[in-house]
């Protein structure tokens, strides 16, 4: 084999598999070899499912020989460890779930398997997806492939780093407040956070149920569109999955940006953001304009309140969701005194610092006497944030902004200051609260050669527009082709 198969995009790999240039086994083995060589440096995977991957690849090769075809047939992907996988340990990056093996697949994962996807392994995450750096993982911190002294972002930092370092062709993540978009930006890859309700949450171990969404990573916009197209659609097992048709994303992805209206929200260019980030994002917007898009300055006046709103709603929902970890049906058990003591000891020892902090914050916000002042207030402000976007989308087709205020920060830099860490999600939280879709894609590098991400936000259920604009931008630029030296 003369070319390194791990350099191929999903689209390219599919073409090679289809034409018989290489087999699914060869493709999978290339990734497994690279994982063996580099995962100890990048620490993207919590567990690598080598045996299962090779078995799946063999079955795929047989199916290809029998004439089967499909968008993701034989494509090796990394799966974030908050998504349930039958018989494969699923820990959510938490000690409390060490050894837990789900008896079912998450719907998003099942649909990928049905389409012939090969799972390479489960990727690291901040514990229960709570964090922006993977430093809150109960196991270890994933390294940014561009600078291994820096964080990959989070919470889906394992999948982002795996795709960036070519330890997978693409990957799944989850996004509650920015957890696929922010790590994609910090690792220089593409990620889509679909609208809430676009992809089933069944089997996604819940963090904040009104915000959680399953997203996709890839090295190109087309690749994330392909993964989304397979995962998306109604699922009777999730009452919050929307029963609406899923468009054929590939049919419209090449239509260009001519005549599209791109909104630039003034509230997303703030004091204190890294100058290189602002410069790169402004240049990307100018690029869209040069390609025929119409640029309009817009205002999303309640943007500054998104952080506070999110840090009431998400912890409140988390405190309720994580009550299920009571050591009775699954997970860690630390037996003490009576059953009450066992609950408290298990949870005190099993959860890490950030998870406990959010359970505490959420419990407080929901407790007697404080519900109206905190939780209800936040839900009302959430309405205002959602209305900001609804008004904006009367004037524009898509909104462009930075993904994060800075490029990747150093490991440990923000670990002791929760508020500083929360601020790294300041540009991704509003879309999550509004339930709309967002795309993160590379748009430049700073003076330390760290990637910068452009965020495109679209109206509810209009992932097709994001993919179209993102693809057009990608065709005109080369940022996505740069790769970290490892």
């Amino acid at each position: 084999m003369s070319i390194d198969l791990t350099t191929l995009s999903i689209v390219e790999a599919r073409a090679g598999l289809r034409s018989g240039q290489f087999s699914a086994i060869e493709l999978t083995q290339s990734y497994l070899n690279r994982i063996k060589a580099l995962n100890q440096t990048v620490k993207a995977y919590l567990h690598v499912t080598e045996e299962q991957a090779l078995e799946s690849a063999q079955a795929v090769d047989q199916a290809i020989q029998n004439g089967k075809d499909g968008a993701l047939l034989g494509i090796p992907l990394a799966i974030k460890d908050v998504l349930s996988t039958t018989g494969v340990e699923t820990t959510c990056g938490s000690k409390i779930l060490a050894g837990y093996t789900p008896p079912f697949n998450a719907t998003a994962v099942q649909r990928l398997f049905d389409a012939g996807v090969i799972m390479l392994g489960k990727t690291n995450t901040d514990e229960f997806a709570m964090g922006s750096s993977t430093e809150n993982s109960g196991y270890f911190t994933t390294r940014n492939p561009w600078d291994t002294e820096r964080v990959p972002g989070g919470s889906s930092g394992g999948s982002a780093a795996a795709v960036s370092a070519r330890l997978a062709a693409g990957g799944l993540g989850t996004d509650t407040g920015g957890s696929v978009r922010q790590p994609a930006a910090l690792c220089g890859v593409v990620a889509i956070k679909p609208s809430y309700g676009r992809v089933s949450r069944y089997g996604l171990i819940a963090f904040a149920s009104s915000l959680d969404s399953v997203g996709a990573f890839g090295r190109t916009v087309q690749d994330v569109g392909l993964i989304l197209g397979v995962m998306a659609g109604h699922d009777p097992k999730d009452s919050t999955s929307m029963n609406v048709p899923v468009p054929d994303y590939m049919a419209t992805i090449g239509q260009g940006v001519k005549g599209l209206r791109v909104g630039v929200p003034k509230e997303y260019f703030i004091d204190g953001m890294q100058p290189a980030t602002e410069k790169a994002v402004r240049a990307a917007i100018a690029q869209l304009e040069a390609m025929g898009a119409e640029i309009r300055e817009i205002s999303l006046p309640h943007t500054r309140y998104a952080l506070s709103t999110y840090y009431l709603i998400a912890p409140a929902e988390a405190s309720a969701n994580l009550a299920r970890f009571d050591s009775v049906r699954y997970g860690l058990r630390k037996t003490q005194g009576d059953l009450w003591d066992t609950y408290k000891t298990t949870r005190g020892e099993g959860f890490g610092a950030e998870v406990k902090r959010r359970i505490m914050l959420g419990t407080y916000a929901l407790s007697a006497g404080y519900y109206d002042a905190y939780y209800l207030k936040a839900q009302k402000v959430r309405t205002l944030i959602k209305q900001d976007f609804e008004k904006a989308f009367e004037q524009v087709d898509v909104i462009a902004s930075p993904v994060a205020p800075t490029t990747a920060f150093r490991i440990g830099e923000k670990a002791d200051d929760p508020l500083q860490m929360y601020l790294s999600d300041v540009f991704t939280l509003p879309a999550s609260l509004a339930g709309i879709c967002g795309l993160s894609l590379p748009c430049g590098f700073d003076e330390s050669n760290l990637p910068i991400g452009l965020q495109l936000m679209g109206p509810f259920m209009r992932e097709d527009v994001l993919l179209r604009v993102g693809h057009a931008y990608e065709q005109a630029t080369e940022w996505h082709m740069r790769q970290p030296a490892l």
Partner: protein, 95 residues
């Protein structure tokens, strides 16, 4: 907004979390700082704004009234820290 040590202990009790002395001290400081920040929401008048619990335009999603099979007992118990006679086993609750 400053949370007292006693309030933090009370929240931990509600949340069923055993916290160490150091954690109680740390959370009192950190949660107070977060609540101070969050207090900015009070600057907004939201008297006439309805709350958003879900962004979806859905109401009363119902499933068909059909008998389907759930998890089998063995699979349901497979991850239990302790099980006996097809049931989850915990410490005695009644003397």
């Amino acid at each position: 907004m400053s949370l007292s040590r006693a309030e933090v202990e009370h929240i931990a009790e509600l949340a069923k979390l055993n916290l160490t002395e150091a954690e109680l001290d740390q959370y009192a400081v950190q949660l107070s700082a977060i609540l101070d920040y969050i207090a900015e929401l009070n600057a907004l008048n939201t008297d006439d704004i309805p709350p958003t619990a879900s962004v979806l335009p859905l109401k009363n999603v119902l499933a068909a009234d059909e008998v389907t099979f759930g998890l089998e007992q063995k699979a349901a118990l497979a991850n239990a820290p302790d099980a006996e006679a097809g049931q989850f086993r915990v410490q005695a609750i009644f003397e």
